[in-house]
C-alpha cells in the first residue's frame, strides 16, 4: 500500500503540470496582447480613397475612447464580422478606425462600397508597420483604446455582438456613452 503513495503523488503532479500546459497552450485566439495597459502606438497614415484626403493621426481621438479594427479584403473572417461591424456602427457609441492591412486600395474601396462602410475613418497600412507596432498577428483584430490613449483590450478573430457589449461597450465610461 505504502509503496504506491509516492508514485501516485508524482503521477498527479505530472498530470497537473501537463493539464495546465494543454489548457494554457499558446492558442492563437486567446493570446493576450503585449500592449495591454500601455499607450497605444502613435501612427499617421494615409486615408483610404482620394490621395487629396491626406493623412490621419492617431492623436485625433486623444481624450476620448476609440476602437481600432484591423482588416483586409484577403481576410475571410473579416467578411464574416463585417455585418456585426455595421450593426456596431449604427449604435454610434465609439469612433471605429479601420486599419486596412497589407491590402490593395481598389479592392478595399470596392469592399466598402459593396458591403457597406462601418468605419469612421479607414487608414492604409500597406507595409504593415503600424500593424506590427500594435502586435497584430492575424486579421481581424480589434483594440479598445481609452481616453488616455491606453490599450485596454484586444479581441482576436471575428467580432461578435456579445464581445462588443461585454468588452467594448462595458469599458466606456458612463459620461462618454450617449
Amino acid at each position: 500500500m505504502n509503496r504506491f503513495v509516492l508514485p501516485v503523488i508524482i503521477f498527479l503532479l505530472l498530470a497537473g503540470v501537463l493539464y495546465v500546459g494543454v489548457v494554457h497552450s499558446p492558442d492563437k485566439s486567446t493570446m493576450v496582447s503585449a500592449l495591454l495597459g500601455k499607450p497605444a502606438p502613435a501612427f499617421e497614415l494615409r486615408m483610404l480613397g482620394d490621395p487629396a484626403r491626406g493623412t490621419f493621426s492617431s492623436q485625433r481621438f486623444a481624450g476620448r475612447p476609440w476602437v481600432l479594427n484591423v482588416w483586409g479584403t484577403w481576410c475571410a473572417a473579416c467578411r464574416d464580422e463585417h455585418p456585426v461591424l455595421l450593426d456596431i456602427a449604427k449604435q454610434n457609441r465609439l469612433p471605429i478606425v479601420g486599419l486596412d492591412w497589407r491590402d490593395d486600395d481598389e479592392d478595399a474601396m470596392r469592399w466598402l462600397t459593396q458591403l457597406g462602410n462601418p468605419y469612421t475613418v479607414v487608414v492604409v497600412d500597406s507595409e504593415g508597420r503600424t500593424a506590427i507596432d500594435f502586435g497584430v498577428y492575424g486579421a481581424p483584430e480589434t483594440f479598445f483604446i481609452d481616453a488616455e490613449g491606453v490599450v485596454q483590450y484586444r479581441h482576436v478573430g471575428a467580432m461578435t455582438m456579445e464581445v462588443w457589449e461585454r468588452e467594448f461597450v462595458g469599458r466606456i465610461p458612463h459620461s462618454v456613452s450617449p
Partner: protein, 147 residues
C-alpha cells in the same frame, strides 16, 4: 513498390520539401557579419501566425514584414538585444523561441533540474535499501536455488 521503397521516396520528398522551405528567404545583407546575425535572429523569432515556424521559415506576409524590420534594424546599427526587445515589446516573450529567464518562466528551467535531483535521490534510496537487504540476508546460497 515495397515498403522500403515507399520509405525511401517519403524521405526523398521530405528532403526536397525542406530545401524548398529554406528558399523562402533570399535576403542578402551588405556584409557577412550582418548576414549571419540576420539569419540567427530570424531563426529565433516565432512566426506568430503559424506558431511553430520561425519567421525565417514562414511564407506568410507578416513574417516577411518582420524579416524586413530585422534587416532594417541591423543596417541601422541596432544590437541583437535591441531587436529582440523590439519584438517582445510588440508581441510579448512568446515571440522568442528562447524566452528570457523571468519569474514567470523560471519553472521551465527549474522542472528538469528538480526531476533530475528527485531521480538521483530515489536511485540512492533504492541502492541503499537493496544493499541493506543483501547484508541482512544470511540464508545459505544453495537454499535459494529454484527447485
Amino acid at each position: 513498390m515495397n515498403t522500403r521503397g515507399i520509405w525511401l521516396a517519403a524521405i526523398c520528398a521530405s528532403v526536397l520539401l525542406a530545401r524548398v522551405a529554406s528558399a523562402i528567404d533570399i535576403t542578402l545583407l551588405p556584409n557577412e557579419a550582418q548576414q549571419q546575425r540576420y539569419e540567427a535572429l530570424t531563426h529565433e523569432i516565432r512566426c506568430m501566425q503559424c506558431m511553430n515556424n520561425s519567421i525565417a521559415d514562414s511564407p506568410v506576409g507578416l513574417a516577411a514584414d518582420l524579416r524586413r524590420d530585422v534587416r532594417e534594424m541591423i543596417i541601422a546599427g541596432k544590437t541583437d538585444d535591441e531587436i529582440r526587445a523590439y519584438m517582445v515589446q510588440r508581441y510579448g516573450n512568446v515571440i522568442l523561441f528562447n524566452p528570457p529567464l523571468t519569474s514567470s518562466t523560471a519553472w521551465v528551467w527549474a522542472t528538469p533540474l528538480v526531476a533530475l535531483i528527485g531521480g538521483i535521490v530515489v536511485a540512492i534510496v533504492i541502492v541503499r535499501r537493496r544493499g541493506r537487504l543483501v547484508a541482512d540476508d544470511d540464508t545459505p546460497v544453495d537454499e535459494e536455488t529454484p527447485r
